[in-house]
Symmetry: D2
Subunit: 393 residues, 4 copies
């Protein structure tokens, strides 16, 4: 590859670190990129763990000081995959230091932080510094294709949106306490972790903005056993007796009103027994409909209400044709992509945008708008589910 | 058939009249009944139409006076299939006259009427007079089997309920005005017509009662063309310009809190493009889950979370085995039942209960409890979706 | 009903007797018929059983002499639902006596009988006497719609046919011996009983004729326990030790060459564990494809290869619209039909054809052509699966 | 990575070259390997294309002489992804030179070549040289899990196997001639290219061996337009008029008899309109059944016939749990793998076997047994589909 290089420093090396590393490694192999990402530096809190992860995932160097990474002249892009409570500090510092930033979702644990990040991103943008938030599911071919269909008018006037993100890893009340169930570190529970994705996808595919929400949140199991071996300690809310207190929601339900008059019904749950990663979207318009379930991510179901009455039906489209977004770079039709491919697509788009001086999407402003919806859901839930305006909408 | 006869008078002969007639005709053929229903008298508003319907559907006589039917000594059971605004008057009169009553759902158009009906039913019950409300979907084999599974503990502690009743016949804004869209005759829209079914089914299958609701209703299209040929006239809200005003909801969304702490999320819509009769129920517990969609009414999906981790999955059970409720009376396994079979099962249970002096279910009290949920949804919707207590719960 | 009456005598009252009775009873209720079928006489081998069945299924009279039925002047139509070994004798006598005949499939147990029946039917036809063989699945709305689609050219040039009829009631080697497993009474096993249906459907939907076949048949379990209580006796091949010998095939596989050059691959099995009544058809052409599974009989999957490449997919059409064959007479869209509805459609078409002096389809000649395919499969199987010409093709 | 290195030379860089390269790159990231594969040398026929491919796919060096690669002391493993007509020569030479060999399927274009390769592999094995044939689909988690289930007895006595590999890229008669349709280069058509996979999978999952076959092959479209731009030239059978002659089968159908008495029914087709990569397997035993379709590769359907009769059904298992083969190394449950992951698993197993001195599977002998089945199908097809013994079985 003789193309110029984009040097990456990635902060954090958990689940998202693995996915992002795979994306940097694979993107230039299957896509023609105007710049080549170089996996320069991996930063973690502990030097030894960061060094091991760097070797595991293929980073040239490792370190345990994210500020040092930001200060290095040879770093072009800061990729933030830490827990949400550190996003704002790192991202703002990086943007101010003139680094492009890719930040995992949710943008921040608090609305105030998210707003500050969006301001910083906007300011940096004036200097040609790019930023993006990692709503990766947008880059699943079926989802990107769904957006294209809507934009082409295939659904007509959209009336109804159904969004679900269903998992079941908490439905066993004996499953242990983790940092994800502690508000101090995780910010929120199912709502912020997985609900954020489905809010974003719904707006991305439909092009609509949420104006108001009415929401409910619930914690079904408020005490869970501490899994000693995993060192959750006091930060996870341990108390006497070997259990930890769950301080986030287990599930959330909310209704949304969009600017167009459309209405959405959403659910995010970790108690949906048997559903493993059922990120689902169904959109109903007066000319058609579409339905998606990430558990069958290579398929999009599309209904065309303008066909002859006896020929209408939900069409199961395998979104693996060369004509589908991203799909042509991979394998022959029907061969199927997996979870990490969307991360590769995200890197393809991000580094192309940086090289070609475009603003990537979703921007921090878009991430902020999701945060505002999440916040409004919590405000509504605390106010007996009354309708609440989404700030800025 | 040498068994004694139960003489039926049916009031109303629309869609439900056809379904009930089929049930009376077919039930004694496939099931051994302690009494034989006799299709004695069909009553409609207009004598000529009632006579034609009686011949079409096989009733011995016809008439246009429901009061006359009630006064006849040779009538044992009054079957009410008229629009909801006349249910209370007919049912109460019939019960007072000592007739058993089968009343279509929803029990009444107003809560006050429903309450009066439940009182009348309870009073009649003391005299051995039986009554039942027609939540027929309870008698779909997959649903009755679902209830059995829950009762056996197959789901463990139930946490979440998902209920949808999705149709799409209004998603075209050009589809015409009908009496079903006029509050004066229909009482409510999607909420009362189809939402009632899914509220009832969820409680029937889980055994749980709704304590509180937070709801939203919406009318997307408030003016629709009058279809002159169908004679909707002023009663359907016609105004100048050849359109009628829609005065009921097109769709409703609501969250429910059950007595056990479980939470339900519901939607009833006539705008769900591509969904024809998608009455769906999914119930999640800590030991298992089940999922049903009436568009595939011969199937129940069941998840057993107590199996080995690598063997868990949603099992598609064809509920056509002799071991499944009602199924053994029909065809060999896999041959499938249709919409009207549940009506036959309803008659089987009702006439058996009458003959064997049991109280049928769902009772008017159960019908009332559904009405109270519907009413609470409307109250909540009018109060910015605030949580509202369900009366009597 | 003031229309003229068509008087029916039905011979046999097993599984098919129940289905046919239901059809006669229901057809005039949901369809406008030019004549009204009257359930005049039910004939069985034993007078008492016939009398009980006549009462159960609603026939005016009963008897135990099929010849007497044929001789009665007041009988118009003989409906034959006996085991296959008596079809020829009854049908030919009835046709000669000037009665219309509906004969269950397969037409006969031997090719010679079937040929004689077709000759008799042709001769009777010259005198205005009608005959039909009961390949009832043709009247499932999804199947009749599939045929219409093919006829309209929706599939283009058909290349491949896949047909399966999968059941599993023999997969347990301990399930008992029955007359269906005895060649003397049943003629053949899975091949003739269920394979016949899928051969017929494939030709019906595609309009193609089978020219040659290469086939294999197998009996996996050749001895089965006698179920004493069910009185199978010597006719079922009982021998010492309480087991009976299975003398028919458990499963059959065959490849077909059609007159057009298309090729079909078929399987009929009673050992397909978990498949209950999976009558499946998939047809591939150069412009499209369709797929059907009777376990989801209200659906047809259709693929349109002429759409834009990114929009192609199998469309799940609910064949319950008024525009679909037969469906408009029943319930609103999405409400679903069951197994016996196709029998009702069969009676609707048969009595209409008789009243309006048309030849019904499938004719005995069509039934014969299926028999010839079945026969050729057995000949091929006995000749090391060599390709065998289908007689008359 | 401080583990020792296994130096790879890959011959060929088409579709399979891309897949294998991805596997070498990714395997050591997600799996702990006892040796680290080094992508040392990529060899193609043309030096410039090989150099470009080496840069694209990340190989250290490139060349255009496969013999030179074999002679290099610093190469440990030869990976053969060329067309089938060169497999034997390269593989035998490599084995004789003491190199481990991974050879793409089918093992060779002729049975004689495949036999020579198996002999060479066996001889090399005595010297500790390993070889493997690339039936990669064995390493799809659902397939590996299916084998485990069968081995545990979950299906009981297996009676029936259904295998299909359905694609549709030739169903348009205007789609162009390619080298894959020319017998000289491709050896055979659908039979050898995709039928080979499903033969292998069926034996792998069931543990059964094919003894006899009866087969049919067909070329529906024997002349196709030459796509000039793709340089097919004379080798693809060009003749005057701008079309090329198709000299391989478009589709094949065959029945198999296994050593155990089980029977299989197979189809391989490139004319199955709407099916993109439908590699399907269904296995029926007296205790259960399983069904798989690669178009939904993250799912396995399992039927347990030993459960209570009312609870039996096909269970859709998402094979993404840590308890499923290979799955634990990747993402959380429900996140899904794609086509290339099985290639990674293949490399994991191969390099582990080499390092730990085990014989990999599928061996060349196993590849040969598949070739023998393919050959017997063609022999049978040429002999009017008569049953033919599979050599060595």
């Amino acid at each position: 590859m003789t193309s110029p290089t984009l040097n990456i420093a990635m902060i954090g090396h958990g689940f998202m670190g693995a996915a992002h590393s795979q994306a940097y490694r694979v993107a230039p192999r299957f896509f023609d990129l105007p710049v080549t990402p170089r996996m320069a530096l991996l930063v973690g809190r502990r030097a030894d763990a960061a060094a091991a992860a760097a070797e595991r995932w293929g980073w040239d160097e490792s370190g345990n000081e994210w500020r040092a990474a930001i200060e290095r002249d040879d770093i072009d892009l800061i990729d933030i995959g830490t827990p949400g409570d550190s996003h704002a500090e790192i991202a703002i510092a990086a943007l101010e230091a003139g680094k492009h930033v890719l930040c995992e979702k949710p943008l921040a644990n608090t609305l105030a932080e998210a707003e500050a990040m969006a301001v910083a991103a906007e300011r940096a943008r004036a200097r040609g510094i790019r930023s993006m938030v990692g709503f990766t599911y947008r880059r699943v071919p079926a989802i990107a294709f769904a957006r294209r269909l809507v934009a082409q008018g295939a659904l007509g006037q959209i009336r109804e949106v159904r969004g679900q993100y269903l998992q079941d890893w908490l439905s066993d009340p004996g499953s242990p306490m983790t940092w994800r169930l502690d508000r101090a570190s995780a910010g929120s529970g199912a709502l912020g972790d997985i609900g954020a994705h489905v809010i974003d996808l719904a707006s991305y595919v439909t092009g609509l903005s949420v104006r108001r929400v009415s929401g409910t949140v619930e914690t079904f199991v408020s005490e869970r056993p501490l899994a000693g071996g995993r060192g959750l300690g006091a930060s996870a809310g341990a108390d006497e007796g070997g259990t930890g207190r769950v301080t986030v929601d287990d599930a959330a339900w909310f209704t949304t009103r969009y600017d167009s008059g459309a209405i959405g019904a959403f659910e995010a749950s970790r108690f949906a027994t048997g559903r493993k990663n059922a990120l689902r979207l169904e959109i109903s318009g007066d000319r058609g409909a579409l339905a998606f379930d990430f558990e069958r991510q290579n398929e999009l179901e599309v209904y065309d209400a303008t066909q002859a009455a006896d020929r209408q039906g939900f069409r199961r489209i395998l979104t693996t044709e060369p004509e589908h977004p991203y799909a042509g770079a991979w394998w022959p039709t029907g061969h199927g992509l997996g979870y990490e491919h969307a991360f590769t697509h995200q890197i393809v788009d991000l580094v192309s945008d940086i090289a070609e001086e475009r603003d990537p999407s979703p921007s921090f402003a878009e991430g902020l708008s999701v945060q505002r919806v999440l916040d409004a859901v919590e405000v509504s839930a605390a106010a007996e589910s009354r309708w609440v305006d989404v700030a800025g909408a």
